[in-house]
């Protein structure tokens, strides 16, 4: 049995817990749930159906840092779902580093640690012979890392490009189909909860750049950082420009790309029948490789579908642990 701690009980943490409640994973027991105020812990497993919201209202809620659990209690798997911080990577980096050093496997959707400390965290994981997985960090539920690692072994990836931010894609879609201005489409996205109240990271292209970096460093083994990415956001895209594109059977999309070792994020003209041209909040990722040539994946890049990535990583951990007969 794998004893897991969900660290970060916000949107994703709750969505994962709900899924596990409805469809339990046989080999998995959730022993801890933690948020910024403290944690709930039960050595022989929490009864998810009895968890009240907020977490603090549950009997046995301990105020304090969940990292204590990682060092003091017996935990096999950390599911790290605290907010992404792209400047410091914290608190994620500390959580993940602590867990790996304690020989605890880690699954995360938190982009900060993967963006800023991938090398270090992978090294610790290797040294301690533990597993570190982060499928949910890019493209939500789209299984990009698993696909490349498991299905394209022996092929060489030449380029990766895609639409990796659902918020900007929603805005550009509304501009294309309804002729809205950028400002109006953004306001609509905020009202619908698609965009955050502070949408800067999305509309300035930084979120896409972060994902492109994670793909570049992880899949293509590059060693790049944010200053290596040419980043142009979508704030200057006008309805006139979109209508000019439309007249030629095209539209404008925010494309992140790794081509010839160059990383960029910028609005590009794209044919409406191009495989990457998806609408609404959908994401699309196209990879070019030597043998397979070209492959495009399309799916919801955020929201509850991200749970699919978390679950797949969790299953990988369970299977790998089984094969090593560690417990």
């Amino acid at each position: 049995m794998i004893r897991a701690l969900i660290l970060g009980y916000g949107f994703l943490g709750k969505a994962l817990a709900k899924r596990l409640l409805n469809r339990p994973v046989e080999e998995l027991k959730i022993v801890g749930l933690a948020n910024s105020k403290g944690y709930l812990y039960k050595r022989d497993g929490l009864q998810l159906e009895k968890i009240k919201e907020p977490l603090e209202d549950n009997e046995g809620f301990e105020k304090g840092r969940a990292t204590e659990l990682l060092t003091k209690e017996y935990i096999d798997l950390l599911i790290e779902l605290t907010p992404t911080n792209i400047s410091t990577g914290e608190p994620g980096i500390t959580h993940i580093r602590t867990a790996l050093k304690e020989e605890i496997d880690v699954v995360t959707a938190n982009k900060g640690p993967v963006l800023l400390a991938l090398k270090e965290l992978k090294r610790i994981a290797d040294e301690k012979n533990v597993i570190f997985k982060y499928e949910g960090t890019v493209g939500g539920g789209i299984p990009i890392f698993s696909l490349v690692n498991k299905c394209l072994q022996g092929d060489d990836i030449i380029s990766i490009r895609g639409i990796l931010n659902g918020t900007t894609n929603y805005i550009l879609t509304r501009m294309h189909f309804e002729g809205l201005t950028f400002e109006l489409a953004l306001r609509e996205a905020i009202m619908l909860g698609i965009a955050e109240r502070n949408p800067t990271l999305d509309v300035e292209g930084i979120d896409t750049a972060v994902k492109i970096l994670i793909l570049a460093n992880s899949i293509m083994n590059l060693n790049k950082n944010l200053s290596d990415v040419k980043i142009v956001g979508v704030t200057k895209v006008t309805p006139e420009a979109i209508s000019a594109a439309k007249d030629n059977g095209m539209t404008i999309k925010l494309i992140g790309s790794i081509e010839d070792g160059e990383l960029s994020v910028e609005p590009r003209l794209i044919r409406l029948n191009h495989p990457l041209c998806v609408h609404g909040t959908l994401n699309a990722i196209n990879i070019k490789s030597n043998v397979l040539k070209t492959l495009t994946l399309i799916g919801e890049g955020a929201g509850e579908s991200t749970v699919a990535s978390l679950l797949n990583d969790i299953y990988d951990v369970i299977k790998e642990r089984h094969s090593k007969i560690k417990f």
């Binding site: 209508s243 030629n248 003209l269 191009h274």
Partner: protein, 157 residues
């Protein structure tokens, strides 16, 4: 790569055969030959040969070999071009753009101004020899970098 070589052949039997040999030695594959007999100048017949070479190095070697047998290569023009659309959002000096295109060997085949003077948008359809595309893009980007414009290029297939 496919190119059109325009050569000044002296109107003497055997010259063309000599040229074709030089092309073949360097791996060139002849697609077509056109004699421009109506353009004979100073004893030369301009001949246009469309050839496919495995690489640009082989093309360059073939050109030197042809010149070394006394046949001038009057023009060497790529047949691989890309027609693509660009959008330029913001106020920009059109002359600056057209002169950049000219300097980089690109041909403007369509130009339209959309939008109001407050939110201008320029649509350019440009025909560029493939090998010059990368440079053209860099030049356009550097021209607009000092302005507040946004250049949007077309995503490849």
């Amino acid at each position: 790569m496919k190119v059109r070589l325009t050569l000044g052949l002296v109107d003497r039997p055997g010259t063309l055969l000599n040229v074709l040999e030089q092309i073949a030695i360097h791996g060139g594959n002849i697609i077509s030959i056109i004699h421009n007999r109506d353009r004979i100048t100073a004893g030369y017949v301009p001949v246009s040969i469309n050839v496919e070479f495995p690489s640009s190095e082989q093309l360059e070697k073939a050109k030197s070999s042809i010149e070394s047998i006394g046949v001038p290569v009057m023009e060497s023009e790529t047949l691989e071009k890309k027609v693509e659309t660009f959008l330029l959002i913001g106020a920009i000096d059109i002359d600056l753009i057209t002169s950049t295109l000219q300097n980089e060997g690109a041909r403007l085949i369509g130009l339209s101004l959309i939008g109001s003077s407050k939110t201008p948008c320029l649509k350019l359809i440009i025909d560029t020899p493939l090998e010059k595309r990368h440079r053209l893009l860099k030049s356009l980007q550097s021209v607009i970098s000092s302005s507040d414009c946004l250049l949007i290029r077309e995503e490849e297939n």
